[in-house]
């Protein structure tokens, strides 16, 4: 296993440089909201999602209701479902670690494992498990460090919560580049802005997410026709 981890390390390097600072920012925000490193540690282990953990800081701050949290998480993490779909073949008959591999299928882990082949001399299972495990460790280390050091940094961390906005802005650009049809992205801007103006910041999100889903389902015949042409 140690050989496998050593050989897989270089594949996980880009994630190391991403997860430590992003996890750190999460830890800093979390401790500013009044939750210590133990919370950060367990959230990084059991949630293991950057978008989710940035969101949860604001959900904890307002003491959101459980059904609200569940619906929001479902819509936010809907994309993981489709990562999984495309990994069914790769993870087929891979052995006992399969259920851990699925648990650790983050955006970044997916990006590596769906494109890279295992290096010489280690099995597929060992490669996939090593990359997933290393990424998980980076995320935990970043989060705990942020929660521990965040409160004693010699400079003010005010404004570090912008990291969530920046992350979503980056994801918008990536989606924009990946799709020819930009109408879904534009619908995703217009409907929530209307909802925000009408309902206000506290109540707009879930109606907006549902409205976007319904409108997209209504546009399905049109979009599918355009796909074929």
């Amino acid at each position: 296993m140690l050989t496998a981890i050593k050989k897989s390390f270089k594949y996980s390097l880009p994630v190391l440089f991403g997860y430590i600072p992003l996890g750190f920012a999460f830890g800093v925000m979390l401790q500013a909201a009044g939750y210590n490193a133990v919370w950060a540690f367990f959230m990084c282990i059991f949630i293991f999602s950057g978008t989710g953990q940035y969101l949860i800081v604001s959900l904890l701050a307002v003491g959101a209701g459980i059904p609200h949290v569940m619906l929001l998480t479902f819509l936010l993490h809907f994309r993981y479902f489709f990562y999984g779909l495309s990994m069914i073949d790769r993870y087929h008959k891979i052995g006992g670690l399969k259920w851990y591999l699925i648990f650790g299928l983050t955006d970044e882990t997916y990006a590596i494992l769906s494109t890279e082949a295992p290096p010489e001399g280690i099995t597929r299972q060992a490669f996939y498990a090593s990359v997933t495990f290393l990424n998980h460790c980076y995320w935990i280390i970043g989060g705990v460090l942020g929660a521990v050091i965040g409160g004693i940094l010699p400079f003010s961390t005010e404004g570090i919560d912008f990291v969530m906005t920046a992350l979503f802005a980056v994801l918008v650009v990536e989606q924009w580049k990946a799709h020819k049809n930009h109408l879904p992205a534009l619908i995703g801007f217009v409907l929530p802005i209307i909802s925000l103006i009408v309902l206000g910041a506290d109540n707009f999100l879930i109606p907006a997410l549902l409205a976007v889903s319904v409108v997209l389902m209504c546009l399905r015949p049109r979009f599918e026709r355009e796909e074929i042409l």
């Binding site: 440089f17 991403g18 992003l22 919370w39 959230m43 059991f46 949630i47 293991f48 989710g52 949860i56 959900l59 904890l60 003491g63 459980i66 949290v69 569940m70 998480t73 479902f74 936010l76 993490h77 809907f78 994309r79 479902f81 489709f82 990562y83 999984g84 779909l85 259920w99 648990f103 003010s156 005010e158 404004g159 912008f162 990291v163 906005t165 920046a166 979503f168 802005a169 980056v170 994801l171 918008v172 650009v173 989606q175 924009w176 990946a178 879904p184 992205a185 534009l186 619908i187 995703g188 801007f189 929530p192 910041a201 999100l205 976007v212 889903s213 997209l216 389902m217 399905r220 979009f223």
Partner: protein
């Protein structure tokens, strides 16, 4: 219910639903078993729309009518988007814009 238990509940709810979205395809679809067309359709068109909604969510508490009028937010989102179209480096785009935002809100705004 104490705040402590409430927080545990929120964390557990997010952890459970997150795991469920990851496990569902492996539980419901096997090898060679194609998911329904409408699921594939949503898989293609829903993510870009939902991500846009969440970007709006990130700035939903910003007061555009008073205070700093959302100027630091708009500047920094523009910087993130421009950098990411130009270089396509996630860490660079997020790092530069977040540090810029921290400087702006701590010094000018």
């Amino acid at each position: 219910m104490s705040d402590f238990m409430k927080s545990i509940g929120i964390v557990a709810a997010m952890a459970l639903v997150t795991a469920a979205t990851r496990y569902a395809p492996f539980l419901f679809f096997g090898r060679g078993k194609e998911p329904a067309k409408w699921i594939k359709y949503l898989g293609k068109f829903l993510p870009p729309a939902l991500i846009s909604v969440l970007l709006i969510y990130c700035v939903s508490t910003v007061n555009f009518l008073g205070g700093s009028h959302g100027i630091p937010e708009l500047i920094c989102i523009a910087v993130t988007v421009a950098l990411h179209f130009w270089k396509g480096n996630v860490l660079l785009s997020i790092g530069v814009s977040t540090v810029l935002y921290m400087v702006l809100v701590q010094t000018i705004f």
